[in-house]
Symmetry: C2
Subunit: 275 residues, 2 copies
């Protein structure tokens, strides 16, 4: 089964386009959890147990595991393995290197760690991404427009095209992604900072490309407008990612139930929109 | 001691601007070496033992270790620790994420693994790189112009500036890097594919920024023209990286001596240029 089919199935089964970001931060763990890898494992598994019927995907960010070195990577592998096969896992790794090396990154993410999809960086161009595309049952979310304050430094530079017209760099990346998507396994990362920019990405990318939309807090307005702007004409393929406001909803005991409550309130808004 | 001072000292002591890329590829290991992590450890340590007086830096690419998961990361840590404190280690990882996450990547590279410098991707802009810059004794080589066939897809797009003039994206990155270099710890990755582009990067980046120059084979012409184009007016700060043609110089026994011979012939050309 392809990543996209798995995503569509999970979204249909759970009636949700919510993705929960699994970013374990020692400094933010609930007080009842031990501040070590064992504590992180207990914490993440509780979050997963309490939210698996509410999400269309999980998105662990590998940086939060890399700070623990080899044991952190093994924990990440264990967490990915713990998530039900019904729910796709998007590994947020933002990788990209020359072809020979990207092949190693793809193997590490898809074969060793068992992720269903990965985020990747377009700066090196097509051949740096091609080794990821080769895994036709895995997804590749190419960074397009990110939600950080400095995203405009490069992403909103104005490109002058041969015909004299102008296009922003992130628009150019969205157009390339559409062109590169011959295997149907490409997605784009497009932040929720501005609904108009997000709908712009959707328009350029076309109907078939999943958008991974980070940068959403617990606020309902943001989520609804992002979903409206990012989804396709069938109301699908906009994956709204929420990390901290769900998994750190409470710093005390009962944190997993609080995370569920926080996720539920988001999912209710998503479902109301589809009704 | 800062990364740059360590680099300058190693280059002076060894009279060399050669960096050897430590990219262990199971498929390319000499036949006498076992095809597992133990074999890779023996192989890399032999290469280091036989070349440490010939280089200004080593550059392990983390992807080649990530395919082995946690144990691969621990091996990388061991290899970095094995390299003499006299020789700086540039971790080729091409990282970059939003600030909060880049901070984790910086901690993993500089504190856990013990690298002296890292390669990083500029697509997310300044705040994605700032957490690396904060480590003032560590270096950050920002991808500028890479040596892969598709590098032009983004890097050579023409940017239209507010005053109407035109600049290529990689030139814009070089200009930003110069502006961002307030702590003096920024470098740039600029491939050796074209000497004129490389000297263009040097011109834009100024005299103070080290250039890491990949894409050089065993051919002397390439090395000499890259060095001439990339170095500053003092003949310094162009780090020419060679990986496969040195470390896989022989597929048989005596591979480390063959690697040394291959490195020596490159270093002789570098020394001849400085004489």
């Amino acid at each position: 089964m392809t990543f996209k089919d798995k995503l569509l199935r999970a979204a249909a089964n759970n009636r949700s386009w919510l993705c929960i970001g699994l970013d374990p931060d020692i400094g933010k763990l609930p007080e009842v959890v031990s501040r070590d890898l064992k504590g992180i494992e207990v914490f993440l598994k509780s979050i997963i147990d309490n939210t698996a019927d509410l999400v269309c995907a999980y998105k662990p960010n590998i940086a939060f595991f890399e700070i623990f070195g080899g044991p952190g990577i093994e924990l990440l592998k264990g967490i990915i393995g713990y998530i039900s096969d019904e729910i796709p896992v998007i590994l947020d790794a933002k990788r990209g290197d020359i072809g020979n090396t990207s092949k190693m990154y793809a193997q590490a993410a898809f074969e060793y760690l068992g992720a269903d999809a990965i985020t990747a960086n377009p700066y090196l161009g097509y051949d740096a991404l091609a080794p990821f595309f080769e895994y036709k049952d895995n997804g590749v979310f190419i960074l397009c427009l990110t939600s950080n304050p400095s995203s405009a430094d490069l992403q909103k530079l104005a490109i002058k095209r041969p015909d004299g017209s102008k296009i922003l760099l992130y628009e150019s990346v969205a157009a390339m992604a559409r062109q590169w998507n011959t295997k149907g396994n490409i997605g784009l990362v497009a932040g929720a900072t501005s609904p108009s920019e997000l709908s712009n990405v959707r328009k350029i990318a076309g109907e078939d490309i999943p958008l991974l939309v980070p940068g959403i807090g617990a606020q309902g307005g943001e989520l609804v407008s992002a979903l409206m702007a990012g989804r396709n004409s069938q109301g699908k393929l906009a994956i709204v990612n929420v990390s901290r406001s769900v998994i750190y909803a409470s710093s005390e005991g009962g944190y997993a139930e609080k995370a569920r409550t926080s996720a539920e309130s988001l999912v209710e808004q998503i479902r109301a929109l589809s009704a």
